[in-house]
């Protein structure tokens, strides 16, 4: 089967500074890859490059079979789900409204929204505005969003930080679900021990390069 992510010698610069160089990465269907590295090593840049949100400067690669330099990335992006550092909710909307808005934009049945919020344990707060919710609650809404969209490629950037144990279990369940559907997951964390518990393969970023973790 074709790899979900196939990077060959990828180089990325941001703000005039090189961040990634010569990055080789292959993610097979059903695989969970962990990426660790100290602060400022380029983990988020790597995740965003895999998500096709950051352009590459050198090298070549494909994500879900689409070349990174393609001008029509929209169909590919629809199969990618990502949790970043900060929740991407609209503060003035309720949790239900946020999820409904995202569902409508993605062309997903909005009738599934209530159930998704229930699965992540937020049915009691569904009418609360996002700016009145804690970080952990907003992060659960993002998980609910991914349960709705069922991405083929799941990208988690320090997704478990600031979450209680039940929310962490939710993330693990989501990773297992993606794996069982033949999807791939990339988990980024500075906590290598956490990665070893969830990923088959752990690599580390150092000097802009991705290397197997010792």
């Amino acid at each position: 089967m074709d790899p979900i992510v196939d990077f060959r010698s990828i180089g990325v610069s941001l703000g005039g500074h090189p961040v990634l160089r010569g990055v080789n990465l292959t993610l097979a269907p059903g695989e969970v890859l962990g990426v660790s590295g100290p602060n400022g090593s380029g983990k988020t840049t790597l995740i965003r490059t895999i998500a096709t949100l950051t352009s590459i400067d050198s090298g070549s690669g494909t994500v879900l079979g689409t070349d990174l330099t393609s001008t029509s990335l929209v169909p590919t992006r629809r199969k990618i789900g990502m949790i970043g550092h900060h929740p991407a909710l609209i503060p003035e909307l309720t949790l239900t409204e946020n999820l409904t808005h995202a569902a409508r934009l993605a062309g997903i049945e909005v009738t599934r929204v209530a159930n998704a919020l229930g699965v992540v344990g937020l049915e009691g707060a569904s009418d609360r505005r996002a700016d009145a919710c804690s970080f952990g609650m907003r992060r659960r809404v993002e998980i609910a969003h991914l349960l709705l969209t069922r991405p083929t490629l799941l990208l988690l950037d320090e997704a478990a930080s600031g979450l209680d144990s039940s929310a962490r279990d939710l993330i693990s369940a989501m990773v297992d679900s993606t794996r069982s559907r033949g999807g791939g997951t990339v988990v980024v964390s500075h906590d290598e021990s956490q990665l070893r518990g969830i990923a088959e393969n752990v690599m580390s970023l150092s000097g802009g390069r991705l290397e197997p973790s010792r």
Partner: protein, 224 residues
């Protein structure tokens, strides 16, 4: 979801957010009305002169304060929300059109209420047939200003001086809109044709719409 449903959904949510925050009607509009009152006092004008400058002051303040209304939407966009919309497959052009739709509604309301305030404070002489011309010109001005503001807001997103810089970009490029809107009413007073001015406004709005849609994808890449 296809282009137009995405655009309408983005516009719908923008208007909901505005209804809940109320920046435009609760802050910008009263500030603009205060500015309407400042002019005659600062210039020490006679009543007859005040009546003569009413429409001119309205168009000038409409542009200047309207820019703040136009810029407020892109100010609320966070990098995370942009990323989310990109991964949801939101067409960049649909986002531009959606922003323009919601912004135009807000801008139209803002300008029309400001116009009513001007009419009350300045009591200008009203030529025959002014109301439909005033409404149409104001709405077309609002659309063009929203388009320019959206574009300028995107180009300056993330910069510390974005409000000033975006205003610097919008103000000179809004000249055709100011001329078209102001001259449409003056044409009524002079009893010359309003059509060239309305066509100027329509042309400007269309040109900006085409530019916005054509530049949407590069703009999306430029704001990451």
């Amino acid at each position: 979801m296809t282009f137009w449903p995405q655009a309408f959904e983005i516009a719908r949510v923008d208007l909901i957010v505005e209804r809940r925050i109320g920046d435009t009607l609760r802050i910008v509009l009263p500030f603009a009305v205060v500015a309407l009152m400042v002019f005659p006092l600062a210039l020490g004008l006679q009543l007859s002169t005040i009546r003569d400058i009413g429409f001119g002051v309205f168009w000038a303040l409409g542009i200047l304060f309207g820019m703040q209304v136009a810029l407020r939407q892109s100010a609320a966009d966070t990098p995370e929300r942009r990323d989310l919309q990109a991964l949801l497959g939101v067409d960049a052009a649909a986002r531009f059109v959606g922003r323009t739709l919601s912004g135009s509604v807000l801008m139209g309301g803002f300008l029309l209420i400001l116009a009513l305030a001007m009419l009350a404070l300045y009591a200008p002489r009203l030529p025959t047939g002014v109301w439909p011309v005033l409404v149409v010109s104001t709405l077309l001005l609002g659309i063009g200003l929203t388009e320019l503001g959206t574009l300028a807001g995107e180009v300056t997103t993330g910069l510390r001086a974005r409000t000033s810089l975006a205003s610097l970009i919008v103000a000179p490029l809004a000249l055709p809109l100011i001329i078209g809107a102001s001259q449409s009413v003056e044409a009524l007073e002079q009893d010359t044709g309003i059509l060239p001015w309305v066509l100027l406004l329509v042309t400007s709005d269309l040109a900006l719409a085409v530019a916005g849609v054509a530049l949407a994808r590069p703009l999306e890449e430029a704001t990451r």
